[in-house]
C-alpha cells in the first residue's frame, strides 16, 4: 500500500491510509527524503492517524525520516498518534526522541508555520 504524498504550499503531507509493511515504510522514507529537495519543501508532515499499531521498526523509520529531512534542510512533524498507540509505544520504550509531534494535521501545520517564522519573530507574537 503506497502512501500518497501531497504538496501543500511549502510543505509535503504524507497521509498513511492503512497498516504499512516494513517495505512500505522504507519506500515512504526514501520517497519523502528525495522529494523534499525536489519541491524545495520547508516542512514535512507525516499523518499516522489511521495507524492502530506503531512498532519498533516504524518508530525507527519515522525517526530516521525526521533526522534525514533535517539534514536536507527541512522540518518534520509526526501528527495524529492515537492515545492508546502513544501509550503502548512508550511502554515499549519507543519515544521518538528528537522528533516533533502534534495532535493532528492542523496543529502540525501551525507548528511548521511557527518554525518557519524563525525565533526572532516568535518572541514578538503574544496572543
Amino acid at each position: 500500500m503506497q502512501v500518497p504524498i501531497l504538496k501543500q504550499g511549502a510543505y509535503l503531507i504524507a497521509t498513511v491510509q492503512s497498516a504499512l509493511t516494513d517495505e512500505d515504510l522504507k519506500q515512504l522514507r526514501d520517497t519523502l527524503v528525495e522529494r523534499v529537495s525536489v519541491v524545495r519543501a520547508r516542512g514535512v508532515i507525516v499523518d499516522v492517524t489511521a495507524l492502530d499499531v506503531i512498532d519498533s521498526f516504524a518508530t525507527r523509520t519515522l525517526r530516521d525520516v525526521a533526522h534525514m529531512i533535517r539534514l536536507r534542510g527541512a522540518e518534520t512533524v509526526i501528527v495524529g498518534i492515537q492515545p492508546e498507540v502513544a501509550f503502548s509505544m512508550v511502554k515499549l520504550g519507543l519515544t521518538l526522541e528528537g522528533v516533533a509531534t502534534s495532535l493532528d494535521l492542523e496543529e502540525g501545520l501551525a507548528y511548521l508555520d511557527r518554525k518557519g517564522k524563525g525565533p526572532g519573530h516568535e518572541v514578538r507574537t503574544h496572543r
Binding site: I81, P83, M89, T101, G108, R127
Partner: protein, 300 residues
C-alpha cells in the same frame, strides 16, 4: 448397637429413592409446624442479638419469607429461587448495616431449630430419625452456603460499584484556558488508578485539543516505583500527542522516588506548586496575564 449398624447398612440400598419421599415427609412436617417453628426461630434471633439493625416486626416478616423459601428449597431441591431471594434480601439489608456473621448466624439458627423439631418428632424411631437427618442435613447445609455466598457476593458487588464511582470522581480533567488542562490528583495512586489517569489524560488532550496539561499531585502523599514509572511514561505519551505535561506539587517523598528510579529530568517538566505550573503553562501558550489598575485599586 451392632444390630442398628446392620440395619443402616441394609437401609442404605433403597435410600436413593427414599430420600425424595423422606424429604416430602419432612417438608409436610415443617409446613404443619410453620407458625410455631417460625416463632421459635424469631425468638432465638432476638435472643442471640442478631439483626439488631432491624425492628422486631421486620425480623418477623423476613423470618416468615426466609422460612417459606427454605422449606421450598428443601422440597424442590433447586436453589435458584432461594439464591434470588437471598440476593434481594441482601440488597435490602446491607445498606442497614447487617453483617455477614448475622446472616450466616440466622440461617444456621433456622437449621438448628428445624433439626430440633425433627428430633422431637422422630425421637422414638432412631432409624427413621437417622434417615431423615441424612436427607435433611446435606440440603440444609447447601441452603446455608447458598444464602451466605449470595450475601457476600452482593456485598462485593456493592463494594465494586462504589470503587468504580470513587474512581470516576477521582480524576477530573478541567479546562482552565483554551488548550490548557488541569488534572488535580488527590489521594494514593494505585496501579489501576494510574492506568485510568493515563487514559483520562491522553483522551482529554485529544478531545480538548490541549497543548499543555498541568498535572497537580500536591494531594498525593507518595508513589511507588511502578506508579512513578507509569507517570513518566504518561508524560512521554502525552508528548507523542503533541502536548506538554507540567507536573506540579511533588512531595519530597515523590521527588526521592523519581530520582531513585533514575528519571530523565530533561523529559519531565516540573514546577513547585500549582500556581507556578499554571503560570509556566500560560507562558508556553503565549498568554500574558496583566493586572489592570482599575481592579487593583477597587475596594474589595
Amino acid at each position: 448397637m451392632s444390630k442398628t449398624t446392620r440395619d443402616l447398612a441394609t437401609a442404605a440400598e433403597p435410600r436413593v429413592e427414599s430420600t425424595a419421599s423422606l424429604l416430602r415427609e419432612l417438608v409436610a412436617h415443617l409446613r404443619q409446624q410453620r407458625a410455631q417453628l417460625r416463632e421459635e426461630w424469631a425468638r432465638l434471633i432476638t435472643e442471640a442479638k442478631l439483626l439488631t439493625a432491624m425492628t422486631k416486626e421486620e425480623i418477623f416478616a423476613e423470618a416468615t419469607s426466609v422460612y417459606d423459601n427454605y422449606v421450598e428449597a428443601l422440597e424442590t431441591g433447586t436453589y435458584e429461587a432461594l439464591q434470588a431471594y437471598a440476593r434481594n434480601l441482601s440488597e435490602r439489608i446491607i445498606p442497614r448495616g447487617v453483617e455477614t456473621h448475622e446472616v450466616v448466624g440466622i440461617v444456621l439458627l433456622l437449621r438448628d431449630v428445624l433439626a430440633r423439631s425433627l428430633f422431637a418428632k422422630y425421637h422414638e424411631d432412631f432409624n427413621k430419625l437417622n434417615r431423615i437427618l441424612d436427607a435433611y442435613e446435606p440440603a440444609a447445609n447447601r441452603i446455608a452456603i447458598t444464602v451466605a455466598v449470595g450475601f457476600v457476593q452482593e456485598r462485593e458487588r456493592i463494594i465494586r460499584e462504589q470503587q468504580e464511582a470513587i474512581r470516576e470522581l477521582s480524576t477530573p480533567v478541567l479546562q482552565v484556558r483554551e488548550r490548557l488542562l488541569i488534572l488535580p490528583i488527590i489521594g494514593v495512586i494505585d496501579p489501576q488508578r494510574a492506568r485510568q489517569l493515563t487514559e483520562q489524560l491522553l483522551r482529554g488532550i485529544r478531545t480538548n485539543r490541549a497543548k499543555v496539561v498541568v498535572l497537580d499531585i500536591t494531594g498525593v502523599p507518595y508513589i511507588d516505583s511502578p506508579v512513578a514509572n507509569h507517570l513518566v511514561q504518561t508524560v512521554e505519551a502525552a508528548r507523542l500527542l503533541g502536548a506538554t505535561v507540567i507536573v506540579t506539587g511533588l512531595s519530597p517523598e515523590i521527588a526521592q522516588t523519581l530520582v531513585n528510579i533514575g528519571v530523565d529530568l530533561g523529559k519531565m517538566n516540573t514546577v513547585g506548586d500549582l500556581q507556578g505550573g499554571i503560570e509556566e503553562a500560560e507562558r508556553l501558550l503565549g498568554y500574558k496575564v496583566v493586572l489592570t489598575r482599575e481592579s487593583a485599586t477597587e475596594p474589595a
